[in-house]
Symmetry: C2
Subunit: 180 residues, 2 copies
DNA sequence: TCGAGCATGTAACCCGTTACATGATTAC
DNA sequence: GTAATCATGTAACGGGTTACATGCTCGA
């Protein structure tokens, strides 16, 4: 059948995109991931640092070590011409399907195998998580008046969807806590 | 920092869950993934068949070969007691954060590096994709009157979100095709 | 005759996660 | 005193993807 879901959007593509704007440290990149893409790309240090090192070896980026007083030294990475090419190659590649693994929905689907107390506990956790995402998106949108139309579209839609999700979650909480 | 995003919801967990209901072939499992979870878990044969083989070796499932006339033989897998335990272990494990990689949003965020023709092309592709997902969800919801509350919640919410997504996508198409 | 549907499999590779490891400063 | 913030890194492992491989039937 040989079916492709996607060679996939990789952490590397997004990191290069962020470095297109300006030079950054791994730590800063992590923070940008959290504020910019809380809802459509999650990355941890375990992905970011190894990717940064790999890309430096392949000359996609250069490293400059900045010594700081009272704080650890930091590595500021800047994109090279070769790195820009790699980023443009990503943009030229075919659009990939979104890739989702939604544990909460999965457990809801299998709710017949658990108690409703557990289910309500998960709903509460999901509510908390959604509130955090929503807050991050709202803060990001206000962070600058320089966002372009495409970026605003991402966050406005993210906010819309998360609000509906939150609403439905609260309704579900009612429903399932009564049926226990 | 040692941050955990999630040991993750694995394909194995979902496959075991499906086998809790009834014995199935790999091919059927693939179809269930497409109709049941088009929006919250994507799996291909490249994941399903190796997982099935691995689980058979570990005695989580048993295989029965069914010979068919005019069609290839098929392997029907049934869950064992050990497999059920593994599935319950999954349900007992902490709820994981959803894991998303949304290529379309990523490209929209980086829209300054591309032409608006390309952007509109991607929007059109995303519109098509969303329509397919929506259709699958609507078909699934009508497939049976036996769905329980949790399952209905998943699909109703999925439909709600995809409708809003589709609407916004159409608006975006207007906006970006005029600005070109 | 060509594509779609039915049906399964494996080897190589790569990406990402987890766990481990370090260490200073600031605020409560 | 202890948690949070700043700041980076690596080794081992595992899950998943891609590419490759096979082959029959039915309808257009």
């Amino acid at each position: 059948m040989t079916e492709k879901v996607g060679e996939g959007l990789k952490g590397q593509d997004v990191i290069l995109g962020l470095l297109m704007e300006k030079a950054r440290t791994g730590y800063e990149i992590k923070q940008e991931f959290e504020s910019l893409f809380p809802d459509f790309f999650v990355a941890t240090f375990g992905t970011i640092y190894p990717t940064l090192n790999k890309m430096e070896k392949e000359k996609y980026i250069t490293k400059e070590v900045i010594h700081q007083e009272g704080k650890p030294s930091k590595n500021v990475y800047a994109i090279t011409e070769k790195g820009k090419e790699v980023f443009y190659d990503y943009l030229k590649s075919p659009l990939e399907q979104k890739m989702i693994r939604f544990d909460f929905f999965m457990r809801l689907y299998f709710n017949q195998y658990i108690t409703s107390e557990e289910l309500v506990k998960w709903i509460d956790q999901e509510i908390e998580q959604t509130k955090i995402t929503l807050q991050r998106l709202e803060e990001t949108i206000q962070r600058s008046d320089q966002w372009n139309e495409g970026q605003l579209f991402c966050w406005e839609l993210g906010i819309k969807i998360n609000r509906i999700f939150l609403e439905s979650l609260k309704e579900a909480r009612e429903k399932f806590s009564h049926s226990s």
